[in-house]
Symmetry: C2
Subunit: 276 residues, 2 copies
């Protein structure tokens, strides 16, 4: 499986331009799976929910998904990337990502752990991330800040994911290093597709950290992009390596989990306080 | 709170000698909390359960705990370290560690995730790790290979631990780096007290990786020992820093956890297979 990140520099609100320059980056790229950043077609910073709602896309009428389908068809691959998802029926907007074949989405995920002011703009997802067969392996999605919660990728490992696709708009400096731990503790592959550049809004300026990367189940960084600049990186992996969960002859990383004593992991904050 | 690791090189089966040389290392050390390695008084490799049972200690008649109490009294501190614990009533032997004041154990933990051939020698613990007030802060214990399961330290964070004491006999190369992620994802301090040297038994030779370390809630490595040689490292920390779980103005690391969708984390392997 040839898998790659597409590190882009989206301009806020300029969907057409963002999709065009992403396409230009892909001109000579051959891959089976390509991962683009979180919100790669719309940019990241929005003044308020109203402004966000103007670029939000229903999944069945999404210019971003249509573009991804076309790329998938033209290149004979599957494409993963993020977009602001409008759920018209329930008046919700999610920070979502999909894995798309030329037919349509194979995996659909709504970000569970919203970062900072995303909480004022987006609704948080209500479902755990799910893994699915995407043709050459089993893959699932986490989005950006989900990385800091080990529970997110753990759920995908428990759902038999071999490869975790991780569209991101990273600002904090710790993620790239932490993803090595995430891969080791779950023994799976991860592709972090981060963006570069900055966005400004009122007094606020965010600079994104680049360094998109692909990590192997043993923690090896197979490929890493620079801190600045648009860039595509592709490596060949064998996703079946991720199905071997033996750390030693006697230690299976998932079967050794002690679910019989992990009960407190599911206590609500209130239940937790009640126990003190 | 002055907290430190004591990196030692135990000789197998020579308890008296191991305790003496640990004491010699502490001659000029001032600290409030000192952490020694896993099984620091007995060494690590045992041919079989029978050999192990000869050095296993009941908690109420433990030469290792008595030594720790004396060090605690003499130095006016608390002492943490590991020992093979004999539970006579149930004919069990645990890979245990305690945090001891001059009066006796304040925290007692039996290793949950046994590494490799430890499974043939020890019984695994049946209780989650618990945090307790040890005088100047709230602390809990994980032991060595527990590091690879994010659940272990997470349970301590959810039990309001500020500092995790981590007696170890590390062989794999990934732990020291991963503990940085563990501290960031839980925002707490961790002291890994690893051993150095080698042990041989029949065809088997294990070399321990040293690099004991103290990590802050923001991932900073405050102090790290060398790969070889006995060594004590002490730093002053403010454990209350670990009570601030805000990563941004809007993100509380524990309250942001989505226990409403984490259900699959507690599925047994059988339940998990049943769902496929």
């Amino acid at each position: 499986m040839k898998i790659g990140y597409v590190q882009t520099n989206p301009k806020r609100g300029k969907r057409e331009q963002n999709l065009e320059s992403a396409l230009a980056l892909l001109a000579d790229v051959e891959a089976d799976v390509l991962v683009l950043p979180e919100l790669f077609s719309t940019g990241y910073l929005f003044a308020d929910r109203e402004e966000l709602s103007k670029v939000a896309e229903p999944t069945d009428e999404s210019p971003t998904i249509e573009w991804m389908k076309k790329v998938a068809a033209d290149k004979g691959c599957v494409v993963c990337g993020g977009f602001p998802e409008l759920d018209r029926d329930n008046n919700r907007i999610y920070n979502s990502a999909v894995i798309v074949s030329f037919v349509g989405p194979l995996v659909h995920y709504r970000k569970l752990h919203l970062f900072d002011q995303e909480k004022e703009l987006f609704d948080a997802g209500e479902m755990p991330p799910k893994a699915a067969n995407i043709g050459l392996g089993v893959a699932g999605i986490i989005i950006c800040f989900d990385w800091i919660f080990p529970e997110t990728m753990r759920m995908l490992a428990l759902d038999d994911a071999q490869v975790v696709l991780h569209p991101s708009n990273l600002i904090l400096p710790h993620c790239q290093q932490a993803m090595i731990t995430r891969c080791i503790e779950n023994r799976l592959f991860a592709v972090t597709a981060n963006r570069v550049g900055s966005e400004e809004l009122n007094e606020k300026k965010l600079t994104f950290t680049g360094h998109s990367q692909i990590v192997a189940p043993d923690g090896t960084v197979l490929k890493q992009a620079g801190a600045e600049g648009e860039e595509v990186g592709v490596v060949e992996i064998d996703p079946n390596q991720a199905s071997d969960k033996m750390v030693t002859e006697n230690n299976h990383l998932l079967k050794d989990r002690r679910v019989d004593v992990y009960e407190s992991l599911l206590y609500t904050d209130k239940e937790r306080q009640g126990r003190l």
